[in-house]
Symmetry: C2
Subunit: 546 residues, 2 copies
C-alpha cells in the first residue's frame, strides 16, 4: 500500500485555484499596462482592484457558488476581469460563442443554465430576438460605459462600470475544492448541436503552467518571455483564447485587447502598442499579411502561434518573408486547448524559408504531461512520418465529458483515451503532422488519401485563393477527391492546368497516384463555421449528389 | 455550493505522478546523452530502459509500495535512475546525506525506516562503522560495476549493474494517488537532530512545472532552454538537487553527472561536455573561479544559479568578469526547494558589473503559485527594500510537516503559513533581499542589525577571505556584533584598519551606526555544516563566553 503524505493540522495544502494565477504570478509589475483598443488603459494594480469589485458586485447581485454567469463580449479588459472574478467566487463563467445562430444560442444558454448574462451592447439585437425563449436568466448586466446605453427592451440589473464604481472590493477570495468547475463553453463542431465542455480550477492552473513552460523553452525564436506584449487574435470566447490570457496575467506582461477583429485596427494596435506576441487561425494571419495597409507596418518583431486549422505552407512562407516569427500548435475545445506545439531547433530556424516553413506548419510535439498516441488498427503507429492513425490523448486538463451528454462523453473517452478524430503521423522527434479529420479522409479503393495534403498542394497553384477537398462518390473507386476551388479575384484557370500541377507532385512522389482521379469544381466561396474553419459538412450538402 | 466537474466513467482523470515527467516530457530526444564523468554515456532511450529494469529488479527484491529505499551515492546517472524508478513503483526514495556524522546517519535511517540501502562503495566504511545499529534494512545493493567490488563485510542482495542486466524491464507503471509520498530526506539544520521532510508525487510534478517556467521566462540572459547542457553541482542527495534533474529530464536535454565534486574535474567536464547550465552554493562557484586551473577554461557560455546561502557581491563580480551568467534563487529543504528566483530585465542586465551584481545577489521574486509575505509585528512589511520581517510562505509543493515530529511540524506551519525563520525585505518589484536568519540577527539595544550585511561589507576588505558575524553578549547593549575573521593566506591586518573600512560604510549610510560597536577576532577557519554553510551554532559554542 502506498503511503500518502502526512499533513500536520496547521499546514496549508494549497488547492490549485484560478485566484493563484492572479495573486501569485511570476512577476507582479503593478504599473504594467492593460489596453483596450484606444479606449481604456488600466494597470495590474487597477486590474486586481476591478476584479475584486466585480466579484463583490456579482455576489451583491445574488450570484452564488455554482451559478453560471455568461459573458458576451469582444476581446476586452472586461472579459479578462470576468475570466478571473467569476470563477474566483466559485461561480462558472460561460464564454458565449457570439457567432452562433439564434437557435444554437438559445440551446447553449439553456444547457449551461446561465443565471446572469453580461452583454456588450453590440449583441443586444440577437438577445432581443431570442429573449422570450430564455428561461434560466435572472439578471442582465450591460458591458458598457454609463454614457453608452442604447435603446433596448432589456431591464438591466446593472451597468458594468457603475457596478464596479459602487462596489466595495472583495478583500478575501475563498478557498474551495480545486475540482470545482470554473469555465464552460460550447464546441462548435461541424456536425450536430454544439457540445458543452467544462474545465475545473485545477485544470486551468495546470494548463497554464504546462503551456507557459511549453511556450518559453525554445532556445531562440518562437518563444514567449517576460518582456513580450501580448494581444489575442483568437476570440476570448473560444477555448479561453487558447489559455494565453491566463498565462500573460501570470507573467505580468502588457496585454492589449483589440475588441472586434478588424484588420486595420489589429495592424495599428500591433504597431502602436508594440505587440510582440499573438495567436490566431491561418485565415486571420493571411488577412493581416494581405490587407492593403499591411505593407505600411513592420511585423518583424511579431511572434504568432497558429492553430485552429492547418497552416498552408504558402502562408507560412509569406509570413517568414515579412519577418514574422510564425509557428504552430494543435488543440481543440475539448482540450483546454493545448495538445502539441511545434518548436524548431536553432539549426532548423536557420533553414531557407521553404524548408523552414515545411517544418513550421507541423502540429508539433506534445507539451509536458500530454500523453499522446497515434493509433492504427494494429496498435501505435511507428514514428516514420508516414504511418497515419487516430490521435488519442490524455492530460490533466482535458474535459472530463460533454455537458449533460453522457453518450457522447463516453464516446469521447472510449477506452480511457480522448479520441480527437484527427488523423496524423509522427516524425522521429515525435512531432505530429495532422493529415486529416477522420471523417474528411478520402477513401479511394482501399487506400486513405489525406484531403489536407491535396489542399496544401492546390494552394501552391498561383491563381487559387482557397480550396476544400471532399470525397465524391464513385461507382468503381468508392470515393474520389473532389476539389472545390475558389480562384483569386479576376483570375481564370482551366481544370487541366490544375491537374498538370497535381501530376507534377504525383511524379515527385509527394502525392499518391490515386489523386489523378480528382474532380474539380470552381465556386465563389467556401462555407465556413462560426470560428472560420472550412465547413465540409455544409460543402458536402451543397455540392454532392443527393 | 460550488459544483465539482462531472467525470464520465471512461474519462482518465490523470493523477500527477513522477512517471509523467519521464514519459511525457516537453521533448523526447531518444539519442540525447546522459554522461557520468568520463565513465558512462547512455542516451534517453537507454535511461528509460534502465529505469524500467531497475523498477523490476526492486520489485523482485521485495520492495513494495510504501517501502523506503535509501540511496547513498555521488551525483550519477544511477542516482537519476533511482529518482524515477523508486517512486514510480509506489516506493519512497530516501536521499541520504552522505556528509552526516555516523550518529546522525543511524538516526535518519531509523527515522525513515529504510528497507533497502543502495550504496556506492565509497560509503561502505561509514556503513561498516554503524552496521550493528541499523535495524530496519533488509537488503543492501552495491552501486558499482561488477568488476569494482571491494572487500566488505556486507552481504549484498545484488550489484546494481548485474541486477539491471538480469531484470525484465517493467512494461507498465501503475497509477496511484498523487498524494503518495515519493521522496524523503533530512534537513541539515544547524541545531538539534536532522529533521525529515517529504514530498508527494503531486508536489514533485507541480514543483517541476512551476520552476521550469520560472527558469525559462527571462527575455535574454539567465535562462534555461531546450538546447542547454545541464550539470548539477548541488548534490543529488540535497533537496532533489534543487529539483533540476526532474526539469532537465522533462526538457529532454543533455545531462552530465560529475560524481564527487572536485574543482578540476568539474571544470574539465564543463569544458569537454559543453555544460551551459548548473546550480551551486557560493563556496563552489568561488572554488571554480579561483582554482589554479580555472583560467585555462572559457566559462563564458556557463549559466549558474546560486542558492543555499547569500552570494557575496564580490564573488558575483568575479563571475561576471569571467563572463559567467550568474544569478540567485532562494529555497530550503522544507520547500522542495524553490521559493524565489531573481531575474533581471534586459535593461538591468546591461548595467556595469558592480550595479548588476548588487541586483543579482538578491533572492528574487516568488515563482508562480508561491504566496509570500514578509511579516513584521505590525503586519505585512511595505515593499520599500528597508522594512524587514520574517518570510512566511505557501505553495503547493512545501512539506506538509516533519517526519514523525508533530511538535516541530506545527511550529513550522503555525497559523497556516510556513515559517522560514529568514528575515528579509522586498523592493518595489517584490524582489526579496534576505538580511538574516531570525536566530542570527544581532540585537543592539532595541535595534536589529543584520549579520549578513556586515559580513558582506567585511568581505569587500582585500585581505579578508571569510567572515562570520555572531552576537556577543554586552552588559549595556545586550548584544554587539562579533566578527570572526579568516584572513587570506599570508596576509596580516590590524583590527583598527578593518574598523576604518566599516566606518566608511557607516558614514555612507549603508550600515547602521551601531556596527561601530563590533568586536573582531582573527581565526584560522570557520566551522561549516555538512552542506558547506557557516555553522554559527558551533562558532557560538567555541568563541562566546560560557
Amino acid at each position: 500500500m502506498e503511503t500518502l503524505i502526512y499533513k500536520t493540522p496547521s499546514a496549508y495544502s494549497y488547492p490549485l485555484l484560478v485566484k493563484n494565477i492572479l495573486f501569485n504570478p511570476y512577476a507582479y509589475n503593478p504599473d504594467q499596462e492593460i489596453v483596450y483598443k484606444d479606449i481604456v488603459r488600466i494597470n495590474y494594480r487597477q486590474l486586481r482592484d476591478r476584479i475584486a469589485r466585480l466579484a463583490s458586485a456579482l455576489i451583491e447581485l445574488g450570484v452564488k457558488p455554482g451559478d453560471v454567469v455568461a459573458v458576451m463580449d469582444w476581446d476586452s479588459h472586461r472579459y479578462l476581469e470576468c475570466y478571473f472574478a467569476i470563477p474566483m467566487i466559485g461561480a462558472v463563467i460561460h464564454m458565449v460563442n457570439i457567432r452562433l445562430s439564434a437557435e444554437q444560442m438559445i440551446y447553449t444558454i439553456a444547457q449551461a443554465e446561465d443565471k446572469v448574462i453580461m452583454v456588450n451592447s453590440d449583441f443586444l439585437p440577437i438577445l432581443e430576438q431570442i429573449k422570450g425563449r430564455i428561461t434560466t436568466v435572472e439578471h442582465y448586466v450591460l458591458l458598457s460605459n454609463p454614457n453608452e446605453i442604447q435603446k433596448t427592451s432589456f431591464e438591466f440589473s446593472g451597468i458594468y462600470e457603475d457596478m464596479l464604481a459602487q462596489a466595495e472590493p472583495l478583500t478575501e477570495f475563498p478557498d474551495f475544492d480545486e475540482n470545482t468547475r470554473a469555465t464552460t463553453f460550447f464546441s462548435t463542431g461541424t456536425t450536430g448541436l454544439p457540445k458543452g465542455v467544462y474545465f475545473s480550477h485545477r485544470q486551468i492552473v495546470l494548463h497554464t503552467l504546462s503551456m507557459l513552460a511549453a511556450l518559453t523553452i525554445p532556445a531562440k525564436k518562437s518563444r514567449l518571455h517576460m518582456e513580450d506584449v501580448y494581444m489575442p487574435i483568437t476570440p476570448m470566447y473560444h477555448v479561453h483564447a487558447w489559455g494565453i490570457p491566463f498565462i500573460a496575467t501570470m507573467l505580468g506582461i502588457k496585454q492589449v485587447f483589440p475588441g472586434k477583429y478588424l484588420p486595420d485596427v489589429l495592424l495599428k494596435l500591433i504597431d502602436r502598442e508594440k505587440v510582440t506576441y499573438s495567436h490566431c487561425v491561418p485565415t486571420i494571419v493571411n488577412m493581416l499579411l494581405t490587407d492593403p495597409t499591411s505593407k505600411n507596418y513592420d511585423l518583424s518583431n511579431w511572434k504568432v502561434i497558429i492553430g485552429g486549422s492547418a497552416l498552408p505552407r504558402v502562408i507560412a512562407i509569406e509570413a517568414l518573408k515579412r519577418g514574422v516569427d510564425i509557428y504552430c500548435g494543435y488543440g481543440m475545445s475539448e482540450t483546454c486547448p493545448v495538445i502539441t506545439i511545434q518548436h524548431l531547433s536553432t539549426e532548423e530556424q536557420e533553414l531557407p524559408h521553404d524548408d523552414r516553413a515545411a517544418l513550421l506548419v507541423r502540429a508539433g510535439r506534445p507539451v509536458g504531461l500530454v500523453d499522446l498516441k497515434v493509433m492504427t488498427a494494429d496498435g501505435e503507429a511507428p514514428w516514420d512520418d508516414k504511418t497515419t492513425g487516430e490521435v488519442v490523448i490524455r492530460a490533466p486538463w482535458y474535459t472530463q465529458g460533454y455537458l449533460k451528454d453522457k453518450s457522447n462523453s463516453e464516446k469521447l473517452w472510449e477506452g480511457g483515451w480522448m479520441h480527437t478524430q484527427d488523423v496524423a503521423c509522427r516524425d522521429s522527434t515525435g512531432s505530429l503532422r495532422i493529415t486529416d479529420r477522420i471523417k474528411d479522409v478520402i477513401k479511394i479503393g482501399g487506400e486513405w488519401i489525406s484531403s489536407l495534403e491535396i489542399e496544401d498542394i492546390l494552394c501552391l497553384y498561383p491563381s487559387i485563393a482557397e480550396v476544400a477537398i471532399i470525397g465524391h462518390p464513385h461507382t468503381s473507386w468508392g470515393e474520389v477527391p473532389f476539389a472545390l476551388v475558389v480562384l483569386k479575384a479576376g483570375e481564370t484557370t482551366k481544370e487541366k492546368d490544375i491537374m498538370k500541377h497535381v501530376k507534377k507532385y504525383i511524379d515527385l512522389g509527394l502525392l499518391s497516384r490515386e489523386a489523378i482521379l480528382m474532380k474539380i469544381k470552381f465556386i465563389q466561396a467556401l462555407d465556413k463555421t462560426s470560428v472560420g474553419k472550412i465547413n465540409k459538412v455544409e460543402l458536402r450538402k451543397k455540392y454532392l449528389p443527393g
